[in-house]
Each structure stands twice: as structure tokens, then as C-alpha cells.
């Protein structure tokens, strides 16, 4: 079955626009689709309008510089985008393909141009652009939010550091104030004694009296020297924050302590036991642990009750990740209600004992505090005393 194609008909109803123009741009023929696109009538366009009449100023420039030169050069133009101005002044985006028609001598006589409406595509493009812009804005916002978050977290870290610094300063302050307090009590007294003794010494003309005053001066100088050394030791501890922590076995340190106190232990006939199985070792400055055990054990021996066989027990526990050393005895005990607040102060003693100097507990508290631990005491007069020392947290990396 054959069918004759009516090209004129085809051209007229073809679903994209078409027009034919002379080399000067004058439009001499159009199809229906083209007229629909630009909303003009055939009469208003044919032989009335040039191609460039349908363009904006910007479009005209593009026509002259790009479109015409490509057409002249290669005889055709493909997919050039113009905005046509419709009769009502609105714009319609189109894509244009043109081809030159030449006569037998090669002169340009006509141009055929097909016009595709790309409003739909433009709209998509526009939407895509908007979506893209939105996405960009969103990502900008996110980046901004991220920046704020980062700077906030930096602020939080800074605040945390500040807090730590504050705590450290507060701690230092407390240390200083307690140091000043100690200095006032423990240094001023002997110094003023010295001054008074010296005055008497200078006033006295009796040689025997002078000699006696001098022995007293010597005693005070001795006290003063001792107190100064104790203060210096405690300052040393407080500066020792970076002291090395080494793996230390409780058993080893305890045995060494037993050796050091061998004579006192024999004298007291004390029954000393220990059990470090729950936490056999710790990362801790060995020197401090030795000092802690030595002070606790010698206190337990010194303040034993003479009414019963002294029993002393040292052991370790792990309570909520913290290694605790516990020393308990059945000795004289301390009235904590009376003395609790002064228990760990320097130069405070609570028993009339010739060796009491009030240094030991002060020293070990300083050592324990510096390493972030704490010491607690339970005691009942004539029943015994228990010291619990939280030494440090069990490190997580094991």
C-alpha cells in the first residue's frame, strides 16, 4: 500500500516550528507550529519580520557574532539556544537548527530553520538549578553547623581545661593556705622562742644561766630544723606530680616494711597478717607505697593496746575499679569526734607517746592526695583503727 506524502502539508503540521528566511533575515515562509510558538499570525510575520526582530538585544548580538558566522562558515547551525520574543512580549526559549540553501552558482539564497520549544526543558533546568542551589545552601548550612559544632566542642574542651586548671589552682591554693597555716603555727612559735631565749641570754650575766639558756636554744634550733625539713619534704611531694609510676607488688613492699620494723614488731609481739590476693600489684611510685605502709604499720605498733595481743592486718581490695589498701588493727583507737578534723594535720598527736611527732599521717595524706587518691579512717577508742586508702583507679588498658 502506498501513500503519497504531501510535503507542504507535512511541513505545515510538523510538531516543531519551521521558517524560511532570505539572507538578510526576512522571513518569507513559516509553518503553523512556529506561529503558535510566537503567537503571531502569518500576515504579521511573512515579509514583515526579520529573524532578528524576534530576538532581544542580547539575542541579536549573539545572532551576529555566533549564529551568522557559523552559518556562513559551515552552511549550517545546530542547537543554538535563543529566546524568542512573543507578540505579548514574553520570552520563549528555543533551540534552533538552520541550514543554508544555495543556487547553482553557490550564492546563498535561503535559510531553512527549525525551531524547538525548550520551555519545558528550561523549566527542568531551572528546577535543577534551584534544587542544586538549595542543596548547596543546605550543604553550606550543614558546613556552618558543623563549624559551630566544632567550635562549640572546642569551647567545651577549653572550658573543661579551664575547669581543670581552676581545680588545680584551687588545690594549689588550699595547699598554700595550709602551708601558710602550718608555717604560722610550726615556725613562728619556735622562732619567737628563740628570740626570747636570746634576749635572756644577752641580759644574763651568770655563766651557768647562760649555759643553760644555750642548751635550750639548741633544743629549739633542733625543733626548728626538724619542722623545716618536714615542710620541705611535703613541698617536694606536692611538686612530685610527675613522679614515675612503676608496677609494684604490695607483697614486696610489705615484706620490706616488716624488715624495717623488725625490732619494734618483736618488742610488741604483734601478730601481723596480710592478704593482697585481690589486688596483688599496682602502678604506683614505690617510694610512696613504702612510706604509706611504713607509717601505717609503725602507727599500729606504736599505738597498740597493752591489754591484748596486737593484731594488725593489711590487705587490698578492688572497689568499683579502684585499688584500695586497708590497714586495720586492734590498738588504742582514736576519738574521731574529737580529733577527726586534725588527724592528718602536721604536728598533731593524740596520744602521749614519746615518739609521737604528728608527721606520719600528714606526710602520707600529702602523698596520696597528690596522686589523686584519698584516705579515710574508721576508729573506736580501745577497739582499734582501720585506714582505707583508695590509691588509684585500675587502668582500663589492661
Amino acid at each position: 500500500m502506498s501513500h503519497t506524502i504531501d510535503y507542504k502539508e507535512l511541513c505545515s503540521i510538523f510538531p516543531s516550528g519551521y521558517f524560511c528566511s532570505q539572507p538578510d533575515g526576512t522571513i518569507i515562509d513559516v509553518n503553523q507550529k512556529f506561529l503558535e510558538l510566537i503567537s503571531y499570525t502569518r500576515e504579521e510575520v511573512v515579509y514583515k519580520k526579520k529573524f532578528t526582530d524576534l530576538l532581544s538585544k542580547g539575542g541579536e548580538i549573539y545572532f551576529e557574532t555566533v549564529y551568522s558566522s557559523i552559518l556562513k562558515l559551515s552552511g549550517k547551525v545546530e542547537e543554538i539556544n535563543f529566546d524568542f520574543i512573543k507578540k505579548n512580549g514574553t520570552k520563549i526559549p528555543v533551540l534552533i537548527n538552520s541550514v543554508e540553501v544555495k543556487d547553482i552558482e553557490g550564492h546563498h539564497v535561503l535559510t531553512y530553520t527549525s525551531v524547538f520549544n525548550i520551555s519545558q526543558r528550561k523549566r527542568y533546568e531551572q528546577e535543577l538549578l534551584i534544587a542544586k542551589r538549595k542543596a548547596k545552601n543546605l550543604s553550606d548550612d550543614l558546613m556552618q553547623a558543623n563549624k559551630v559544632l566544632i567550635s562549640n566542642s572546642e569551647l567545651i574542651i577549653k572550658q573543661k581545661l579551664q575547669l581543670e586548671l581552676n581545680n588545680h589552682l584551687e588545690h594549689k591554693n588550699r595547699q598554700l593556705s595550709s602551708f601558710a597555716h602550718i608555717a604560722s603555727h610550726n615556725l613562728r612559735a619556735p622562732v619567737s622562742n628563740l628570740i626570747s631565749l636570746n634576749d635572756f641570754y644577752n641580759e644574763s650575766s651568770d655563766l651557768e644561766d647562760k649555759a643553760m639558756l644555750f642548751t635550750k636554744i639548741e633544743i629549739v634550733i633542733g625543733h626548728l630544723n626538724e619542722t623545716l625539713n618536714e615542710l620541705i619534704d611535703s613541698v617536694k611531694i606536692q611538686e612530685d606530680i610527675n613522679i614515675t609510676h612503676e608496677p609494684t607488688l604490695f607483697k614486696t613492699v610489705f615484706n620490706k616494711t616488716l624488715e624495717i620494723l623488725e625490732v619494734q614488731l618483736l618488742d610488741s609481739k604483734a601478730l601481723v597478717t596480710s592478704n593482697f590476693s585481690e589486688a596483688p600489684k599496682i602502678e604506683y611510685p614505690k617510694l610512696y607505697l613504702e612510706s604509706i605502709m611504713l607509717n601505717l604499720l609503725s602507727n599500729s605498733i606504736r599505738y597498740r593496746s597493752l591489754d591484748r595481743i596486737p593484731k594488725i592486718h593489711f590487705y587490698t581490695e578492688i572497689n568499683s575499679n579502684e585499688i584500695t589498701l586497708i590497714a586495720t588493727d586492734n590498738g588504742l583507737g582514736i576519738n574521731l569526734k574529737k580529733h577527726g578534723h586534725r588527724l592528718f594535720g602536721l604536728g598533731n598527736t593524740f596520744h602521749r607517746h614519746p615518739d609521737s611527732k604528728g608527721v606520719g599521717l600528714y606526710m602520707i595524706k600529702t602523698q596520696i592526695d597528690v596522686l589523686g587518691g584519698c584516705i579515710a579512717v574508721e576508729s573506736e577508742v580501745d577497739k582499734g583503727t582501720t585506714f582505707k586508702i583508695i590509691l588509684k583507679k585500675v587502668s582500663d588498658d589492661k
Binding site: H185, S192, N193, I195, F200, K338, T349, G358
Partner: protein, 136 residues
């Protein structure tokens, strides 16, 4: 006007203080006699034992605040329960080497304290206290 010299007690854990004060007081005949105690508990015990014997109760007590066993503050906490048994006015002066304003303020707020003396206790300070109380 009390025309006799006071009985003075010194409560201080520092025996050099005992010596110095005794020497000043004796040297200038400021007291009838002097009692010395090394801590608050011993002094309190003495006061309790002698509460009915007026002539043994000191007129003036110089009380150190920083002592072992029982310090000056604890002594002052325990003292009121004895006070009613003692038929004599006892003037207690807190003697301290502390320059801590808190200590001075704390002393001011205790009824039983007649005054706060900053150490060292000199002849002038002693005379001032004794004169103010109207002895001699």
C-alpha cells in the same frame, strides 16, 4: 582592787614556753605561783580534781590553741561544764602564734575567753593583762 598576786596557769605543749613565761613571771614577781600543763586534757583534769579548793584554782590561764591530745579549742568546749563547779572567776587568755584572722574571730566568739594574745608573750603583754584585771 585585789591586793594580791594572781595564780597563773600555762597550758602549752611547748616546754620552752613554760620556761620562758615562768622566767618572766618569776623574774618580775608577777604571780603568787605558776601551774604548767602540757595539754588541755591534763589541765582540765587538774581543774576538775581541785574544783572545790579555791586556792588551787588559777586566776589567769594562758591557753595555747595548738596542742596535741586536746587543743585550746577543745579545752574551751569542755570547760563550761566545769565552770559552774568552780567558785572563782577564771580569766582565760588564748595565746597563739597563729595570725590567722579566722582564729582570732573564733576566739572572740567564745564567752569563756577574756582575751586573745598573739605570741610571743612578752613582759609588757603579761603586765597589761594582770594590771587590767586589777591584781596588785
Amino acid at each position: 582592787m585585789i591586793s594580791k598576786r594572781p595564780l597563773i596557769a600555762i597550758i602549752d605543749d611547748d616546754d620552752i614556753q613554760h620556761y620562758l613565761l615562768t622566767r618572766i613571771i618569776d623574774g618580775h614577781n608577777l604571780a603568787e605561783s605558776i601551774l604548767t600543763f602540757l595539754d588541755g586534757e591534763k589541765a582540765l583534769q587538774f581543774l576538775a580534781d581541785n574544783s572545790s579548793t579555791n586556792e588551787n584554782i588559777p586566776d589567769i590561764i594562758f591557753l595555747d590553741n595548738n596542742m596535741p591530745i586536746m587543743d585550746g579549742w577543745q579545752f574551751l568546749e569542755e570547760y563550761p561544764s566545769l565552770e559552774c563547779k568552780i567558785k572563782k572567776k577564771v580569766h582565760i587568755f588564748m595565746a597563739s602564734s597563729s595570725v590567722n584572722p579566722e582564729d582570732i574571730e573564733r576566739a572572740r566568739n567564745i564567752n569563756q575567753i577574756s582575751g586573745y594574745i598573739e605570741k610571743p608573750i612578752t613582759l609588757d603583754k603579761l603586765k597589761g593583762v594582770i594590771d587590767d584585771l586589777g591584781f596588785f
